[in-house]
């Protein structure tokens, strides 16, 4: 039985709202019934910003249901335009209100007449796309809107910046360590002598979007958000795109080499090889550390990776390529982009899992019994129940993913952070033996914890005591085999006797 419904990615309107509230001076209005407007709560709780989240709801109440919205949405848009003077108001329905199929585009057009700022309907199908896809689409829509507007007015800038420059696309509010990644990428660009032309959408003004074509290239560090925008800019403005996630020593170097190729093709003459060499060998700690005696005992350890495309793919490659850890299974919940993920990781793991069902992942983990998990908060919970340590490497976002200290995942400092995270996630050398001697981390009888919710098998006290005497490294296997033995014979309670019988029968 499934006890709870769990989503790895939120509904579409959350994606749109993340984009809208990342920009400076953009207001979003939800056409939503009460209760659908929890985005404000979520964002103010997690981001801990000084300002109110610039999102309001035009509430779908019984009057709206009984008579239609009439002037309500239009009035709310115009009122917000007058009160807050935003550059742009984005209107979005939620899953619930999109059932009504009201003509929201028409509301926007009518509100535009009386508004000083721009008014736009987020053009997303709420039953087809999830949060990440909707965010990608909304960002593209806003960028396209302002570039076309500038083109019509003849305000598009001529030519490129004097020095090589970059647009960093995809930094958003409520993104996984996005703000730290952003700082790290800016530093990296500075080291490479590349000017940052714009960073969007986080802290960007929509009025600056028209300056985007001045950059020499676009950098899309995250697979989930920004790809559509970069494709559009490539199509319309022939801007090359670098879409290699600079995560881990190897891929950071790959990313830098691609940047070098892209800007040298436009007339620059840079050679980043000495920089990469310097960083890899002397600045970053990750490269020597993973070859050090400390990391020796990680070699060949088994791990499961699960997360969004960007982070799960990057982690899989780092674990396998840079740290010699055996990745049993790499998985993603980005089902819509499964092909990309499979291509990225299939050389670095035994098995690929594409699923949005947390129970499927839990069962896979329970079966594989890895030494460590690298996953989302959900896999952390799974790990807790199975007594397997877990490092959190991807969204869904959680208050713990807004650390006060500097914890980027990208660039050379990101590599250090990741090595720390990986190293500290495993139960290490002596700790293994100490746990054995003192009987685990906690004194609770955690041994009955199981991932399959249908299991109605119980362990009697003496059965448990006997099981606890078995050395930890085989205990899971013994427990599984005994439970299988009991299930096959319809034994409801596993006593010490049953355990012995199973041992005789199976030879465990």
């Amino acid at each position: 039985m499934k006890l709870a419904y769990w989503m790895y990615a939120g509904p579409a309107h959350i994606g749109t709202l993340r984009i809208a509230s990342s920009f400076k001076n953009v207001h979003a209005i939800m056409h939503a019934p009460l209760g659908d407007d929890y985005f404000n709560v979520m964002r103010s709780m997690l981001e801990r910003e000084r300002n109110y989240t610039p999102v309001t709801a035009s509430v779908v109440d019984r009057n709206v249901l009984a008579r239609g919205s009439q002037e309500k949405v239009v009035d709310n848009i115009v009122r917000k335009d007058r009160e807050e003077h935003p550059d742009l108001i984005v209107l979005t329905p939620t899953c619930t209100s999109s059932i009504l199929q009201e003509d929201l585009k028409n509301f926007c057009d009518r509100a535009q007449i009386d508004s000083k700022g721009d008014v736009m309907l987020a053009d997303v199908n709420h039953y087809r796309y999830n949060e990440l896809q909707a965010a990608d689409r909304s960002l593209h829509q806003i960028v396209q809107f302002y570039l076309e507007k500038a083109r019509k007015k003849g305000e598009l800038p001529e030519g490129k910046t004097e020095k090589p420059s970059v647009n960093i696309i995809g930094m958003t509010t409520l993104g996984f360590h996005n703000n730290h990644d952003c700082t790290e990428l800016k530093r990296l660009m500075a080291d490479l002598g590349i000017e940052v032309n714009t960073v969007i959408p986080e802290d960007a003004s929509v009025n600056d979007l028209k300056l985007m074509p001045r950059a020499w290239f676009n950098l899309v560090p995250y697979r989930e958000i920004g790809v559509m925008t970069a494709d559009y800019l490539e199509r319309e403005f022939a801007m090359p795109c670098v879409d290699i996630t600079p995560m881990g020593i190897v891929d950071t170097a790959r990313c830098i080499r691609k940047i070098q190729a892209v800007i040298n093709a436009q007339g620059a003459t840079v050679d980043y090889e000495p920089f990469i060499d310097e960083q890899t060998r002397f600045v970053s700690q990750a490269a020597w550390f993973s070859r050090s005696i400390d990391c020796q005992n990680l070699t060949g350890k088994k791990a499961v990776v699960f997360g969004d495309n960007t982070h799960a793919a990057a982690l899989t490659k780092i674990l396998s390529r840079e740290m010699g850890i055996h990745v049993l299974l790499a998985g993603t919940y980005c089902k819509y982009d499964a092909e990309w993920f499979t291509n990225e990781v299939s050389d670095y793991c035994d098995r690929v899992l594409i699923s949005e069902d947390n129970a499927e992942i839990a069962d896979a983990i329970a079966q594989l019994e890895p030494a460590a998990i690298f996953g989302t908060q959900m896999e952390r919970h799974i790990g807790k129940r199975l007594n397997i340590p877990c490092g959190v490497i991807a969204a869904p976002i959680h208050i713990q993913n807004f650390p006060l200290g500097y914890k980027p995942f990208m660039g050379y400092e990101g590599s250090n952070q990741l090595v720390d995270l990986i190293y500290n996630s495993f139960t290490l050398g002596m700790e293994d033996h100490l746990l054995e001697i003192f009987g685990g981390h906690d004194t609770k009888e955690g041994i009955t914890k199981t991932m399959s919710a249908e299991s109605n098998l119980g362990w009697s006290r003496d059965g448990l005591a006997e099981l606890n005497k078995i050395p930890g490294f085989v205990r899971g296997k013994v427990k599984r085999n005994t439970e299988k033995f009991a299930r096959d014979r319809n034994i409801a309670e596993i006593t010490a006797e049953v355990l012995y019988a199973a041992k005789e029968a199976v030879g465990v």
């Binding site: 249901l65 009984a66 239609g68 919205s69 009504l100 003509d103």
Partner: protein
């Protein structure tokens, strides 16, 4: 007893409903007819004017349910039939289904459901969402108005599917089909061969029924001055009598849309080819 009348748009549901309501009243029953269509003209032939809708009233009272009384929403119609109109938003705004559900709830709160012998829901064209299927949650019988045409029977089949779905959890039965404006009934017969269900009555195309609609009068009211119309009233009285006899009804086994499409279109495209081939086969047998 609660009845829900469904059928394809424009098939004459409201006219039929009003006349059945009066017929039931003539048999001494206390009848309430509820128009469940945002068009709110279901009870027009009973009252002679468009009565205020439930939603109009609720809006006027700012949704203070405690201020809404039966008299505010229930209007007396011809022949002692009480009338209610649910109302609803214009097309493309709000949610018509919500309004139907809300109406039914409000009438329950007003205890209106217990005061009547018969309540008749007259629901718009087709069952499109949960709201418009809401009357089926309360009804004992569903009646489907159809004609001898492809479209109406296709719609009837969809409604039959809804009845089947609802009958899993509710004591709902399909009382049967009512053929309206039906001179020939061959296609109806073909349909009920495949999906067995009773046919309560088949009314021919009668000009006076159409006229009655425009005049805002039921046939019974018109027959007061024109006794020649009494034979039309008898059709409706017949339907009323059948319903009052508490028929067993059926839970229809609906045909998948595609099969029905093939069945009915075959009827038009290959008329009466079947008997001929049989004959020729027989000839061969003779040889």
């Amino acid at each position: 007893m609660k009845l829900a009348v469904y059928g394809k748009g424009g098939i004459g549901k409201s006219t039929t409903s009003c006349n059945i309501s009066v017929a039931l009243a003539r048999r001494g029953k206390k009848v309430l007819q509820i128009g469940c269509d945002p068009k709110h003209d279901s009870t027009f032939t009973l009252t002679g004017f468009l009565i205020p809708t439930i939603i109009d009233t609720l809006q006027e009272k700012d949704y203070h349910y405690e201020d809404v009384w039966s008299e505010d929403v229930i209007y007396k119609g011809y022949g002692g039939v009480d009338c209610v109109e649910a109302g609803g938003p214009p097309a493309g705004a709000g949610c018509g289904g919500y309004v139907v559900g809300e109406t039914v709830k409000l009438l329950k709160e007003l205890n209106a459901f217990d005061e009547y012998d018969v309540i008749l829901f007259d629901v718009l064209g087709d069952v499109v969402c949960g709201g418009f299927a809401a009357p089926l949650n309360y009804a004992d019988y569903c009646l489907i108005v159809t004609d001898n045409g492809f479209d109406a029977l296709f719609a009837a089949n969809r409604i039959a599917a809804s009845v089947r779905e609802k009958a899993r959890t509710h004591p709902l039965r399909l009382a049967g089909l009512i053929g309206n404006r039906t001179a020939k009934r061959d296609l109806i017969d073909k349909y009920i061969d495949t999906v067995p269900m009773p046919v309560l009555e088949v009314l021919p195309l009668i000009e006076d029924i159409r006229v009655s609609r425009v005049k805002g009068k039921t046939l019974f009211e018109m027959a007061e001055n024109d006794p020649s119309l009494n034979y039309v009233c008898d059709y409706y009285l017949n339907i009323a009598d059948q319903i009052l006899a508490n028929p067993e009804g059926v839970v229809p086994n609906d045909t998948p849309d595609r099969d029905l499409f093939a069945l009915l279109s075959d009827f038009y495209l290959n008329p009466k080819e079947l008997p001929k081939t049989e004959e020729s086969e027989l000839d061969l047998m003779m040889v």
